[in-house]
Symmetry: C2
Subunit: 117 residues, 2 copies
Amino acid sequence: MIGVPVDRDLQKGSTATLALSLLSRSPMHGYQLVKELEAKSKGVLTFKEGTLYPVLHALEREELITAHWEADGGRERKVYHLAERGRDELRRRAAEWAEFRTAVDTVVQGGVFAYVG
Amino acid sequence: MIGVPVDRDLQKGSTATLALSLLSRSPMHGYQLVKELEAKSKGVLTFKEGTLYPVLHALEREELITAHWEADGGRERKVYHLAERGRDELRRRAAEWAEFRTAVDTVVQGGVFAYVG
DNA sequence: ACCAATGCCTCGAACATCGATGTATCGGAG
DNA sequence: CTCCGATACATCGATGTTCGAGGCATTGGT
């Protein structure tokens, strides 16, 4: 663990978007997503397995990602791919994130800096 | 309404922080917070009253804000002030938000731009 | 031989949010 | 002077999400 995880609440609703983003770089299986997110975010963000797997299944149902089983020795892994529709959805969500981030910054940063300086 | 509200999920968990931020600028009553957030965020963020009031009551219980009734003609308003402890908490939450924002950007932006260009 | 890490998954409890609803006052349009 | 939309506070139940705990199996290192 490199950093300290942020308050769980902040992460709410972002799980699917983060998963889509990671999958846009390369296909991965669930556990790999957990490790990748932790690495890429320097330990700030984490997927809980109890949250991630249901989300992954939902994305699969919505056909935003596809999955197929791969054998690694006697071990089975479910590898997820970003689908075309998922790529569109990711673009949409990324734009939404940018809008949200800007809006929160305007409200929060303004309030803090008024008393930090 | 100036902009389009973002997906509700993204806003989850940020209600209290946004309220504290707005109150750090000036004391306000509930309905005023609703209007201020909408104005400051250009319609991107909105407090639902059913969410805001319980949150405000919770912040009051935790002594992060204080409240007192003010009369405006025959009308009663409950005006909320940011307390000292609330100011500390806001600073803490603002720092956490900055950390979260940076982490998400690293994951999301990287993924999107790889396919936008 | 054992144990930690990998790997997929489900379940129920806990929690937060939202829409609907209720009450009441105020100001302006007709 | 009457009606209605905006202001203003608040609660409640339905809904949805998240998480911790647990189950099960394999693999690699000691």
